[in-house]
């Protein structure tokens, strides 16, 4: 009998145990959204989640371990947590949970809950005015199962952009001068024709004067430049095909340049992008004259991951100058981006093909331009970079890409530059940095080096003092000098002062008059006025070998 009683008692206790051992806390998942100073982090839970000061937080980073913290401040949707354990390196995105007492949840928190709103007499009217349709909704589905996105053609017409004015005046020893005044605007008009497309414009009018002091070398020019005047449609999540017509920078492969014509781009399900473009290439100078160079272009970008961190691209450009076959260009590019700190790679090559008999190039194909850079970044902001640049003159009939050169230059000129750059942690108050480069061209070679130390918060909070020593074995001389830059970030912008001394010695001179010293001083100030105006002012002095030049300039921009 007593044995049965014991068995029943144990069974009863076992049955009651789950109720008695119910977790007294509700584990509310959270994530770190930002990391502040003094071991404080901001998490995405707040009063509305019934979090209160003093609640225990447990962080569980992906690499393992559990780290504790406690809530020290609570807002409606966020809370600040002080970390309790050293050795934990919090970064945004780390998951965790806050332990909210179950009793608090059961009791509710009427003080912070949504206030009971009085009946809105205008609610019916609002519902009548609600314009958006519910596509994809079927009876039985929750009413707000999926909110329908507003299509571009259903949105109000909107104009956004900027207008700006820039001016520069340079005077050399009082008798030579040049000036430059530019007024420009760039804007987009969304849903311009109620079909979801957008109108784009980017252009300027500029006035230039030059006076060489001789009385014969005065010149003056007034130019208008239109960089973009186009209409684009599609190419978004509602329409994978995109079209742009007018004057525009080719969207899919900007290496092919600005075009007066039309471009069609598409996107495959896997994320690859491709397109074709037909039109005339404006000459790539300030005149942008067009109508001589017809382009047939195409590109394909293989995207190996959803975020396009690994992309391999190929572009083809066939041009006809005044109806005659001209340039055959292949552009190849590779991009690799790490998900966090790590190695990255950008590489672009311009490969020109030459056919026929009457040209300056001996080769069938030539790498006329290349830019390859790879670097590694660390989480503290330090970084190293290696870069290689190649530059040759491509042979083609298009005008304006470079100043006229001799046939021998076209055939032989080349420039290769290999560089290494290092910048130490951005968290350090004293931050060494350097760049070392070697270069080689068709007739010479040289090296260049910058060694610098950047100091922060030297005289006041937010200031920056940069000390740089540099040297360069250049094409016709060698140079050495130093540069001091001091700048302060203000509440609305920043100002900087720069002084630079350069000593140069020219190789071809045999006597003692081959030395030249130059002093350069520059001041600049940039600030905002309100939310729509940006102003930059700058001025400088350059003194060398008995001549002194000064310059002043401004840039004023209104954003709308």
């Amino acid at each position: 009998m007593s044995g049965h009683v014991v068995i029943l008692a144990v069974a009863a206790l076992c049955g009651l145990a789950p109720a008695q051992q119910q977790d007294p806390f509700v584990h509310v998942p959270l994530r770190i959204v930002s990391v502040g100073a003094n071991d404080g982090v901001v998490v995405d839970r707040g009063r509305r989640d019934l979090v209160e000061v003093g609640d225990l937080v447990l962080f569980t980073p992906r690499q393992g371990g559990t780290y504790r913290g406690s809530v020290i401040q609570v807002d409606r949707r966020t809370a600040v947590v002080r970390l309790a354990e050293p050795g934990f390196g919090p970064v945004a995105g780390i998951a965790g949970e806050v332990l909210v007492p179950r009793a608090r949840r059961d009791a509710g928190n009427p003080a912070d809950g949504p206030a009971a709103a009085p009946a809105d007499p205008g609610a019916g009217e609002v519902a009548q005015r609600w314009r958006n349709r519910d596509d994809g909704w079927r009876p039985g589905m929750p009413l707000l199962d999926r909110e329908r996105a507003v299509r571009p053609e259903e949105r109000p017409r909107r104009v956004t952009g900027r207008a700006w004015l820039a001016g520069d005046l340079v005077s050399v020893s009082g008798d030579r001068s040049n000036s430059y005044l530019r007024i420009g605007t760039a804007f987009d008009v969304e849903n311009v024709a109620s079909r979801g497309g957008a109108l784009h414009f980017d252009g300027e009018v500029n006035h230039r004067t030059e006076n060489d002091g001789s009385g014969f070398g005065e010149s003056e020019g007034l130019d208008a430049i239109i960089r973009r005047l186009s209409y684009s449609s599609g190419g978004d999540r509602f329409d994978r095909d995109g079209v742009e017509v007018g004057r525009f920078l080719q969207r899919g492969m900007p290496e092919l340049g600005i075009l007066d014509g039309a471009e069609w781009t598409g996107r495959a399900d896997g994320g690859d992008r491709y397109g074709v473009a037909v039109g005339f290439l404006p000459e790539p100078d300030d005149d942008h004259e067009s109508g001589q160079d017809l382009q047939l272009g195409a590109h394909y970008l293989w995207s190996l991951d959803p975020a396009e961190r690994v992309v391999v691209g190929l572009g083809l450009q066939k041009t006809f100058h005044d109806g005659s076959s001209d340039r055959d260009l292949v552009v190849a590019k590779v991009r690799y981006l790490p998900e966090g700190p790590g190695w990255d790679l950008f590489a672009t090559g311009w490969l020109d093909f030459y056919f026929g008999e009457d040209n300056a190039k001996d080769a069938f194909a030539e790498l006329t331009q290349a830019y390859v850079t790879t670097g590694r970044s660390w989480s503290d902001g330090s970084r190293i970079d290696f870069a290689w640049r190649r530059q040759r003159f491509p042979e083609h009939d298009r005008q304006g890409e470079y100043l006229p050169v001799l046939r021998t230059q076209l055939a032989d000129d080349r420039y290769d530059r290999l560089s290494f750059a290092y910048g130490s942690s951005t968290e350090w108050h004293a931050r060494p940095h350097c760049e070392l480069a070697v270069w080689s061209d068709e007739g010479d070679e040289g090296v260049a080096a910058d060694l610098g130390l950047e100091l922060r918060d030297v005289f006041t909070s937010g200031d920056r003092l940069d000390l740089v020593a540099f040297g360069n074995s250049g094409e016709i001389a060698w140079y050495a000098g130093g540069r001091v830059t001091y700048g302060v970030a203000t509440r609305t912008g920043r100002w900087d002062v720069l002084y630079e001394y350069t000593f140069s010695r020219y190789d071809a001179f045999a006597d003692d008059r081959d030395d030249l010293a130059q002093h350069r001083l520059r001041l600049s100030d940039s600030f905002r006025i309100g939310t729509a105006w940006d102003v930059s002012l700058h001025g400088g002095l350059v003194h060398w070998d008995g001549d002194t030049a000064w310059d002043v300039g401004t840039y004023i921009q209104w954003t709308f």
Partner: protein, 221 residues
């Protein structure tokens, strides 16, 4: 062709053949795939995910339109998303970045080029921050950067407008350029009569007699 004393080249149209090959490759590579892979084309609803937002839409929106935000709308981007916006980015409209082209995080991961078209057409590399800041597109430090090239700008060259040597500077085109004196000073050479440089055959190695120190003619050292 911007050369002197050269005849136009005649070339076959292999480019057209390459274009044809591209078309075949494009068709072959763009086969069916998983449309949800990139989260680009699916009807995602609002551009900015609202899953974690308060239920009271009128906290941010004006009555009957998802496109209009309240005049007193404010959003602490750093606190709410962990991404701090600086300079022009802090003052930009939300939809400049959060729009129909796709998830903004994907574009942001690609650096400046993920959102901004490269008017330099790839020739100046991907490190935009070396010349531009988040406050303005006005470039900075051109002379300092030029000091690392094979032709540092000294004397008269330090105060001349960029476009005098880089004819496409106003439209972002700086390459290719050549440090040979004649590339920029050909007209001056032809106009020099005392002494007459051309008849004497003095057409190169200008640096044997001249320094880039002055605009004055005949500044022979």
């Amino acid at each position: 062709m911007t050369t002197i004393d050269t005849k136009p080249a005649r070339r076959a149209s292999l480019g057209l053949i390459l274009l044809g090959l591209w078309a075949v490759a494009a068709c072959a590579a763009s086969g069916p795939g998983d449309p949800a892979r990139h989260r680009w084309w699916a009807g995602l609803g609002p551009v900015i995910p609202h899953d974690d937002f308060p239920g009271d839409c009128t906290l941010c929106h004006v009555g009957d339109s998802w496109n209009e935000l309240r005049d007193d709308f404010s959003f602490d981007h750093a606190a709410e998303t962990g991404v701090t916006l600086r300079g022009a980015h802090a003052r930009a409209r939300c939809l400049r970045c959060h729009n129909d082209r796709g998830p903004v995080a994907d574009f942001m991961a690609q650096g400046c080029g993920g959102c901004h078209g490269d008017i330099h057409q790839g020739e100046l590399g991907p490190r935009c921050e070396e010349c531009h800041t988040e406050d303005t597109w006005q470039p900075f430090g051109q002379l300092e950067r030029h000091a690392r090239t094979r032709l540092p700008l000294i004397g008269a060259h330090a105060v001349v407008a960029c476009y005098r040597c880089h004819p496409g500077a106003l439209v972002g085109n700086f390459l290719p350029a050549d440090p040979n004196c004649l590339t920029c000073h050909r007209e001056e050479l032809a106009a020099t009569t005392n002494p007459p440089h051309l008849p004497l055959g003095w057409v190169d190695r200008c640096d044997r007699c001249h320094l880039p120190t002055s605009w004055r003619q005949g500044s022979v050292r």
